[in-house]
Amino acid sequence: MTIHVRYFASLRERFGRAEENLVADGITTVADVWKAVCEGTPIPDQVLCAVNLEYATPETPVHDGDEVAFFPPVTGG
């Protein structure tokens, strides 16, 4: 399966990239995506997630072709 992964703000800087395509098997949740791009670590509490432009949790299921995003707490307004 292929997951389009996006990073924003300080996470984008920490990962050194804004997006990437993750091609892997055995990925069923957002937490799996994070582990795949972050060497097996769990998602830190301070990291927010979205699947297909909607807020998600580490337990949210992901499917082939989904866009998964990780970003720090928002600071607009």
């Binding site: 996006r6 300080s10 979205a50 995003a69 600071t75 607009g76 307004g77």
Partner: protein
């Protein structure tokens, strides 16, 4: 109702006048308009700020903003709302956000305007990076809010 992301500087009062003229006389007959305008400050947490970059998540930001306004409309049943938010490179005194709510009732207008602003600050994907005289820094999390519903 309208939600807009702006990549260039905007004048909140001009935008408001334009939106009202599009609405026609309906908007001015509603009795109450409550408005919030947030502008960039030249200091934050005790340090001078020279400029700021506002990043967003194209697609998700618009969708979340629209949902915030829709939820507020359902809850308060106001008549109209306009939200404009800047992204890109800002200088001190540049407008960042405009939230306007039209209603027949002043209480509704005040409460809905504030709730939209607070939800925007806590749920809309925007991130501020400040340029100080000697370094840059990401702004820490917004505080407070009328409703914490992060997933």
């Amino acid at each position: 109702m309208r939600v807009e992301i702006r990549f260039d500087p905007f004048d909140p009062l001009v935008e408001l006048a334009r939106y009202q003229s599009e609405l026609g006389s309906a908007s001015t007959r509603l009795g109450a308009l409550t408005l919030f305008i947030g502008t960039m400050r030249d200091h934050n947490e005790g340090e001078p700020v020279e400029k700021m970059n506002l990043e967003h998540y194209p697609g998700m930001t618009e969708r979340q903003l629209w949902r915030i306004v829709e939820n507020a409309q359902r809850r308060w049943n106001f008549d109209d709302a306009l939200v404009i938010h800047r992204v890109g490179d800002l200088l001190p005194a540049d407008p960042i956000v405009l939230v306007a709510v039209w209603s027949s009732h002043r209480g509704t207008a005040f409460e809905a305007c504030r709730a939209i602003l607070e939800d925007l600050k806590h749920r809309a994907p925007f991130w501020k990076k400040e340029t100080l005289p000697d370094r840059t820094r990401w702004v820490a999390q917004n505080t407070g809010g009328s409703d914490r519903r992060f997933p």
